[in-house]
Symmetry: C2
Subunit: 343 residues, 2 copies
């Protein structure tokens, strides 16, 4: 019988000695070992070559000592699988030269097996990672949330406010829902393939949902998050991370997901109140604070865990780790959680 | 005796027949008349020439029919006055080639009369605007909040997350507070000059405070907002707009400000609860919704006013109007407020 990992226990709401810890973007640009590979292989070569994706995924487990690995990939593989070109140039945001804004654009998207089959390299990577991890820690699979994917499909690039994408939703809601449903269907099939290959949990990143007011979140984001969670949660625990959508916590606490990710703009106390302690919460250290001296990181981590409580909690950042964070500071964050004592 | 304007009545919390309305960035890039001037004169020529600033300030009063004018200027005139070069190139964000990050940088900033005297063109513009407005509507003066100005001084350019500026605050808090105090002192003197010249109310824009968690907002933003409000509010009503800092509403309701601006990510109902109806609220229409058909703008405006209540309320957007909004839609928004009936 395989041991139950701390990360899975926390997702199930079981009592633990200390919370598990991982960091969003932990496999990435703050690690010299990653930068070495980045200098040799372009982004999609790293993502699409199972051996490289495997090596990058496992780096932070070996180097920083996190309690869970997360697949090295990108949320924009879904647009690619649906037939939309994505350019990812280092140190610049993504560019989608052909945006999706008309009925014809939406009709022409690749769907079903044709879409998912093109992502077979992800299943290969997951199988390899699981073998290499050898049950040391669980592996998190992931995808972008449909609203966030729509943002890139419609806007065609990163943006501060995704005004064009939001205007598309507000002025063409019928077409927006068609597009969201298509993204959702492909995403669900893709995530099931990740679980088939061995992913132990799934996180859904709604990176831009916080640009929506509550009513609009309830219309353009929530139903699709729920659809994904409802389809996957019978197989593995699901973590929903609608960044910035603090106002949705009450509603999300009724979802089938095991956990909700939050950023630092809501206090642990209020997040607990809004979710009535029904969900595992994940977050919410401000990534900018990883530049603090180690002693202060330790102090702030202790205060964070005290505020969340050690159970039903996964220590994490409230957003991705920044490129300029020294590895020793990342390690200090992880160690501070591992050494947590409530007294 | 001069009549009391609707806008001032709402700021004072008096009972009104309908709320006043204006739009952030109403003097700007969605107006053909503005674009004509933009094609002839560069940004700082428009800002620094009283006749041009006057013409641009009054355009939306004439064309769209708003209930208040707001000085055409920029929050980055304060860095300029403190001796820091600011480049503003059309369709790109601001660039500050020499950032402020060391003790020496902070020590060398221009302060006091020397700083404020260089902004005399603003007083000239305000006097001209007041004369031209001839008491049709009141004039709002404004400045950036100290935390937001620090963001630009330290980061040197616009940014999605202002990570560099936040890391500066977190890792060098003493120096950050020195800088914030210096910005605050110059800003207060500058705003008093605006009132001396005739500004009828003052708005303080904390455009980036929403990037801070609550504790950090309480340390790096709130005290300086309060200092400004405390100094000005005996003379004119003050509106504080810490964009995205919904968590600060309870604290801000204890401030000396007359009104708090909010964006669309908090509901009117919760904003009223958190401020216990002690303050006038201003906002919070999602600017992306101005692309909706006019009939739907009318419906959404009615619902918004119903939710806030007509008293202690100033109808506005939750952020600046976007460049691609047709003038007739902006006018439809303003007219919908003007035609508001509670039944």
């Amino acid at each position: 019988m395989t041991k139950e990992h701390l990360f899975i226990k926390a997702l199930k709401g079981e009592t633990v000695d200390r919370p598990p810890v991982w960091m969003m973007r932990q496999a990435g640009r703050y690690l010299p070992e990653y930068i070495e590979l980045r200098n040799k292989y372009d982004f999609f070569t790293r993502v699409q070559t199972p051996e490289l994706a495997c090596e990058i995924t496992i780096q932070p487990v070996d180097i920083v000592g996190v309690d869970a690995a997360i697949l090295f990939s990108d949320i924009l593989v879904i647009p690619q699988a649906m037939g939309v070109e994505v350019q990812l140039i280092e140190h610049r945001g993504p560019i989608l030269p052909r945006t999706i804004t008309t009925q014809k654009d939406v009709d022409n998207l690749i769907m079903g097996d044709d879409a998912v089959a093109s992502l077979d390299y992800v299943s290969q990577a997951i199988k390899l990672i699981k073998k290499e991890l050898n049950n040391r820690v669980p592996l998190i699979g992931f995808a972008g949330a449909p609203f966030t994917i729509l943002c890139y499909l419609v806007e065609g690039k990163g943006s501060k406010n995704f005004d064009v994408a939001k205007q598309f939703c507000f002025s063409q809601p019928k077409l927006a829902h068609q597009l969201l449903n298509k993204i959702t269907d492909v995403t669900i099939a893709y995530l099931h393939e990740q679980v088939n290959a061995g992913a132990d949990a799934i996180q859904v990143f709604d990176s831009w949902s916080g640009l929506l007011g509550q009513n609009d979140f309830n219309e353009f984001s929530l139903p699709y998050l729920n659809k994904i969670s409802d389809s996957l949660s019978a197989r593995v625990p699901v973590i929903l991370f609608p960044k910035g959508s603090w106002y949705a916590l009450q509603e999300l606490s009724k979802s089938s997901a095991s956990a909700i990710g939050i950023d630092w703009c809501i206090t642990p106390k209020l997040a607990r109140e809004l979710t009535q302690n029904k969900k595992t919460l994940q977050g919410n250290f401000d990534p900018c604070k990883l530049l603090l001296p180690v002693s202060q990181i330790q102090k702030e981590v202790k205060e964070m865990i005290d505020a969340f409580g050690k159970d039903r909690y996964i220590a994490n950042l409230g957003h991705g780790i920044l490129p300029n964070i020294p590895v020793e500071n990342a390690k200090a964050f992880v160690d501070a959680v591992k050494n947590y004592k409530s007294i």
